[in-house]
């Protein structure tokens, strides 16, 4: 008899089947509800209609004036423009606010004034300033991504182990050296958390910005679907927004894993 017994933990069959079953039921119920006319087809489109439109939109410009991948490409451009600008401004600002008292003293009050204002509320002012073109939308997305970047970088620096800082001081490190060699590396996991959160914020704000003022993009497609009373286009737009967002999220997750491979959490 051996000292160790092998324990096999088996997932019950029901647990494997239930997820598939629940999604399948969802789609079938949706299809039936629309087909039988319980919900009128001016309010909701059946999944099959949406799928049809999906393939149709790759070749057909009507009625919103652009192909599906063109809409998606415009949205991705806007989202990434705002996202990278938010990272470029927010992360250094947050890191500096976490370590340098002067930076925190100067930036904190302004940040606290801006923070509670939802980025969506900036849309009218942005239209006054930039019109409805690309810069305006990038500005709104930038505002949305900025707040999580600053907060996460700030908290990341603040969570640096104080013992390490005291040790570095004992060995005569300057403020700048401590910041560069201790605070930034220890804030990295939080910073990468910010990448994901900021992306989600940017993507939400993108839709908001495009709902109000745009002439292309996925959010614009949703609005056009409502104006033309085409629920299949609204649903397709929503699914594309969700799908693209989830896809970008997965890519960032991969990048994060690759870059953070050597760092202990």
């Amino acid at each position: 008899m051996t000292a160790y017994r092998e324990v096999v933990v088996r997932t019950p069959l029901a647990l494997k089947l239930l997820p598939i079953l629940s999604v399948a039921t969802f789609f079938i119920a949706w299809e039936i509800v629309v087909r039988t006319g319980v919900v009128p087809d001016t309010m909701l489109a059946a999944p099959t209609t949406v799928t049809q439109l999906l393939f149709d939109k790759f070749t057909n410009m009507d009625p919103d004036g652009a192909l599906l991948h063109q809409h998606a490409w415009v949205s991705i451009q806007e989202a990434f423009g705002g996202y990278f600008l938010a990272l470029a401004v927010g992360l250094p600002l947050g890191l500096a606010m976490g370590w340098f008292n002067v930076a925190e003293g100067l930036a904190r009050p302004i940040f606290e004034i801006i923070r509670p204002i939802p980025p969506v509320a900036w849309i009218p002012l942005t239209i006054f300033w930039f019109g409805i073109g690309l810069p305006g939308k990038i500005f709104i997305i930038w505002l949305g991504g900025l707040v999580p970047c600053v907060i996460n970088a700030y908290v990341g620096v603040k969570m640096t182990n104080p013992t390490l800082i005291q040790m570095a001081r004992t060995y005569g490190a300057s403020d700048w050296q401590i910041f560069k060699q201790l605070c930034i590396p220890s804030a990295l996991p939080m910073v990468f958390g910010a990448l994901q959160i900021a992306l989600a914020c940017c993507w939400t704000n993108l839709v908001a910005a495009e709902l109000l003022a745009a002439d292309a993009g996925l959010g614009f497609m949703i609005t056009m679907g409502r104006r033309l009373a085409m629920p299949e286009m609204v649903v397709l737009g929503m699914f594309m927004v969700g799908l693209t967002g989830a896809f970008i999220g997965v890519i960032i997750d991969r990048v994060e894993k690759r870059l953070l491979a050597g760092i202990r959490r």
Partner: protein
């Protein structure tokens, strides 16, 4: 002598490694004043408002007075709005209209999502049914539902409450779910060792330990609720703070737009304080986290 003082300061804490609160008063020189926190805060706020005023008076942003209002004009506009009626409501009426929507939507979402999240974490069969559907709907931003909710419910109150419910549902559910899942397993072991049953585990370990996470979820969803109500009101409304902003935009009155933004910030801040106070009352065992 000085060592004694340090010891006294440190003796109030439990660990022997903590740094005592020793305030050393150096001479009052220029550098010390310049790096004082309150001095810097004042400088920053004064600089912010004067820069704003300067921008509003100059023509940098284009469009002159229709691009940005001066700070005192915003204040005057707000005072006017509290006295005169805009679409049959004063400023307080609009604040109340928005707050009502947020409170109703937020309560509905919290009442459904938190128990559902707890249930999903406690029972893996419920989890297997609900999780895939939730994962399917989660990546769609709540704002993208605005169009379809207008198709379904028209432009009345229902569609706005629906958006808020959808937006606040996700963080409420996720935090309740993760709050239970991330409970330290040692705590369960303790209860089991003391002879507790499954019911004791849930009542005395799961719920208290997941409370802080649930409240963090409520805080997040509250700020999302304000974003959602605003977006819904910007698209279509006859009352609410979003309506004030839209009116300001249509009339080209930046003072009204900025006034509306300021009131929203204040309202969002107020509701956040309320939830924080509630949290302190309901779960005093939560650890204090320094910083933000």
């Amino acid at each position: 002598m000085s060592q004694e003082a340090t010891c006294n300061a440190a003796s109030s804490s439990i660990a022997n490694e903590t740094v005592g609160q020793v305030v050393d008063r150096g001479p009052l020189n220029l550098g010390r004043i310049l790096t004082n926190r309150w001095f810097l805060h004042t400088v920053s706020i004064v600089a912010f408002f004067s820069l704003w005023d300067l921008l509003a008076r100059s023509d940098v942003l284009g469009g002159g007075s229709s691009a940005l209002a001066r700070p005192h004009e915003v204040l005057e506009q707000l005072v006017v709005l509290t006295r005169e009626e805009l679409a049959e409501l004063t400023l307080w009426g609009h604040v109340w209209a928005s707050t009502q929507r947020v409170v109703v939507g937020f309560s509905i979402a919290a009442a459904i999502a938190v128990p559902l999240g707890l249930f999903m974490a406690l029972n893996r069969y419920v989890n297997a049914v609900v999780k895939p559907l939730f994962d399917l709907l989660k990546p769609m931003p709540p704002i993208s539902w605005i169009s379809i909710s207008i198709l379904w419910f028209g432009i009345g109150e229902t569609s706005k409450v629906f958006i808020i419910v959808l937006g606040t549902f996700v963080p409420c559910l996720l935090n309740a779910y993760n709050g239970v899942r991330l409970v330290e397993p040692e705590l369960y072991d303790v209860v089991r060792m003391l002879g507790g049953k499954r019911r004791d585990e849930i009542l005395h370990v799961c719920f208290p330990a997941s409370f802080p996470a649930i409240f963090a979820g409520l805080q997040i969803s509250l700020s999302i609720a304000w974003t959602c109500v605003l977006a819904a009101e910007l698209v279509s409304a006859r009352s609410g703070l979003g309506y004030i902003i839209v009116q300001g935009m249509n009339l080209s009155q930046p003072a009204m737009v900025i006034g509306g933004m300021a009131v929203i910030a204040a309202a969002a801040w107020g509701t956040t304080l309320l939830v924080t106070a509630l949290e302190r009352k309901l779960c005093p065992w939560k650890r204090k986290i320094a910083g933000l």
